[in-house]
Subunit: 318 residues, 2 copies
C-alpha cells in the first residue's frame, strides 16, 4: 500500500515535505487537513526568530548558524520571510548567495515565505509552516525576518528564542529603533564585528540593557539579554552564539516559559483567524445590511462612527 | 445661562477646544458624548495626511504649509502623531522648533497625539481628534506622521489628500520603500531641494510613477501623483504645493471620491473598535472558558490552532 504524503514526511522524505509546505502555504484544503493531522507530531522543535535592520547581515548570520548547527548533527530548517511588501532589502540576491552556500546539505532545508497578510508582519503561513518542519523532525527552525515595523514583534510571539542582529554604523535614527528591541530580544548580536564602530554599538546596547533591566527582586531570575559580537563572514563568534542559544533554551525550559510562548502563539494565531473572519464577513457593508445602514447614517452625519461601533458591539453574541 | 463646552467650541473658543480634545484623546465618557454630539457639525474640513521617512523634513514642511495657508485666511489644525513606540525621530526637538515658529498665530492650532493602539499606526484617537477640529470649523487639518511601517498606510485611509515627503540622499534600501508609497501618495514632495541629489530623487520617482500608472482607458481620468520640489527652509515651492493640493481637492470632489474616503474611514474606524472588543472580551482565555478549553487541547497536541479557530468561528453569531 502506498504511503500518504504525511507518512512520507514523517519518514523524512524531502519531496513530501516540500509538497506539503506548498499546500500549507497556499492554504489549500489538503494543506489544512495535513496541517491538522501532523499537529500531534509537533512540539519537538526549538523555534528561533532572527530579526534585524536591513544591512545588518542577518542572512549571512543565519547561513553560518545553520552550517554550524548541522555540523553538530542537527536538522535545521530556515524559514526566510520575504516581504512581498515594499520593504524588500535585496532578498533575491540574498537567496542566490544562500543557495550557493547551503546547496546539497542534507540536514538543512530552506523555505521562503512571503509576509502577505493584513497585519503587515509575518503571515499566519509562517506559523503553520514552522509546525510542518516541527512535525518533520527538524530540531531547530530559524525564522529570519526583516526588522522593520511589526515584523520583529510578530516573530517574537512565535519564537522560543528571539535574536536581534545589529551592525555597527547606523545613524542615530535607526539606533532609536533599538529602544523597542529590548522588549523582544533574548540575545543581541552585534554582527560585522570586524567593522569600525562595533564597540560603540555594544556600549550603546549595554547602556540600554542596564536601563531596561534595573536590578530588582523578582520571583524568578530574569533572563538579561546577553550581547555578543559576531563576524558571520569570518565565522567568528558563531559557536559562542550557539552556546548562548542553548543557555536560553535551558532557561526557558527550566521555568516552563517555552510552553507559555506556545500558548501565547496559539492564542495569537486563533485571534488572527477570528479577526480575518470578522473583517471579511462582518465588517463588509455588502454582506452586512446593518452595517450598510449605519454607514448611511454616518454619511448623513446623524451618527458618529464611534456610536455606530457601540451599536454593532452591543449586538455581538460571541 | 452658561454655554456648554461644545457650544463654546462651536463659537470658536480655543480653551473649550483644548479641553474637549483632551477628553476625547483620553477616551473619557464626557469625551465620547461630546464627540457624538459634535459629529453633526463635521464634514467641512479637508484632511491632509503628510508622511515621509525620518529626516525628510516633514515638520518644517508642515510648519511652512500651515503659515502659508493661514496667511490666506484659513484656519489650520496640525495633528502631529508622536510615536510612543520606538520610532521617535526626535519629536521633542521638533515640537520646540515648531512652537517657536507658530506661537501666537490665532488661526493655527497644534496638537500632538501618541500613536498608541495595537495596530501600530495612527491611533483611533487621531480619527476622533480630527473630527473635533472639523466640528470646530477648521478648514484644513494637517496630520503629520512618521512614515515607517504601517503609519503611512493608516493615515492615507483617513486623509482626503496624502502627501508623501522625500529628501534626497537616502540609501538604496530606504529608496526601495518608496515602491509602496505610490499606492498611497496623491502628491510627492521632494523636500530639501537645495541639497545635491534632489534631481536624481525626482527622476527615480518619475520612473516609478511611469511604471505604476501605465496609460490605459479608465472610466474616470486617473489622478497621477504630481512630483514637486520644495525647500521648506527657504520657503520655495510652498505656494506651488498648495496649488497642487487645491487641484487634488477639486478632483476628489468632482468625482465624489471625498465621500468614498470618508465611508472607508468610517468602516475602518468601526472595524478597529469591533476588533479591539473581540480581542479584549472574546480572545481572552480568562473570560472565555471555551477558548481556555481549546488552548488546553492545543497544549496536549490534540487539536491544531487552526482547527481551534475554525471551531470558534463556527460558533460566532454576528
Amino acid at each position: 500500500m502506498n504511503k500518504s504524503l504525511s507518512e512520507r514526511l514523517l519518514d523524512g522524505d524531502r519531496f513530501a515535505l516540500s509538497k506539503i509546505l506548498s499546500e500549507v502555504d497556499n492554504a489549500t484544503q489538503f494543506g489544512e487537513q495535513t496541517s491538522d493531522e501532523l499537529y500531534s507530531h509537533t512540539g519537538g522543535a526549538w523555534i528561533i526568530g532572527i530579526t534585524g535592520s536591513p544591512g545588518s547581515g542577518k542572512s549571512t548570520l543565519v547561513n553560518s548558524l545553520a552550517l554550524c548547527l548541522s555540523e553538530q548533527g542537527k536538522k535545521i530548517a530556515i524559514l526566510a520571510v520575504d516581504p512581498s511588501s515594499p520593504f524588500s532589502g535585496g532578498s533575491i540576491l540574498g537567496d542566490r548567495v544562500r543557495m550557493r552556500d547551503l546547496y546539497g546539505k542534507p540536514n538543512i532545508f530552506i523555505r521562503s515565505v512571503s509576509s502577505r497578510g493584513h497585519l503587515g508582519g509575518i503571515s499566519s503561513s509562517t506559523f503553520r509552516l514552522a509546525r510542518i518542519f516541527d512535525a518533520a523532525g527538524f530540531d531547530t527552525i530559524l525564522i529570519e525576518t526583516v526588522g522593520i515595523g511589526q515584523n520583529e514583534i510578530e516573530v517574537s510571539k512565535l519564537a522560543h528564542t528571539t535574536i536581534v542582529v545589529e551592525a555597527p554604523g547606523f545613524g542615530d535614527e535607526i539606533q532609536a529603533i533599538k529602544a523597542g528591541i529590548l522588549e523582544i530580544a533574548d540575545i543581541l548580536v552585534v554582527n560585522k564585528s570586524d567593522l569600525p564602530g562595533s564597540d560603540a554599538t555594544v556600549s550603546a546596547l549595554v547602556g540600554m540593557i542596564d536601563l531596561g533591566y534595573p536590578s530588582k527582586e523578582e520571583q524568578i531570575t530574569p533572563w538579561i539579554p546577553p550581547i555578543i559580537k559576531v563576524s558571520s563572514s569570518k565565522g567568528e563568534g558563531i559557536s559562542e552564539l550557539i552556546t548562548l542559544m542553548d543557555a536560553h533554551r535551558d532557561y526557558m525550559r527550566e521555568h516552563g516559559l517555552d510552553r507559555e510562548i506556545e500558548t501565547r502563539a496559539a492564542i495569537g494565531e486563533i485571534g488572527d483567524e477570528v479577526e480575518r473572519w470578522v473583517w471579511e464577513k462582518y465588517l463588509n457593508p455588502k454582506t452586512n445590511s446593518e452595517l450598510a445602514a449605519l454607514i448611511a447614517q454616518i454619511g448623513k452625519r446623524e451618527l458618529s462612527p464611534q456610536a455606530a461601533a457601540r451599536q454593532l458591539i452591543g449586538k455581538l453574541k460571541l
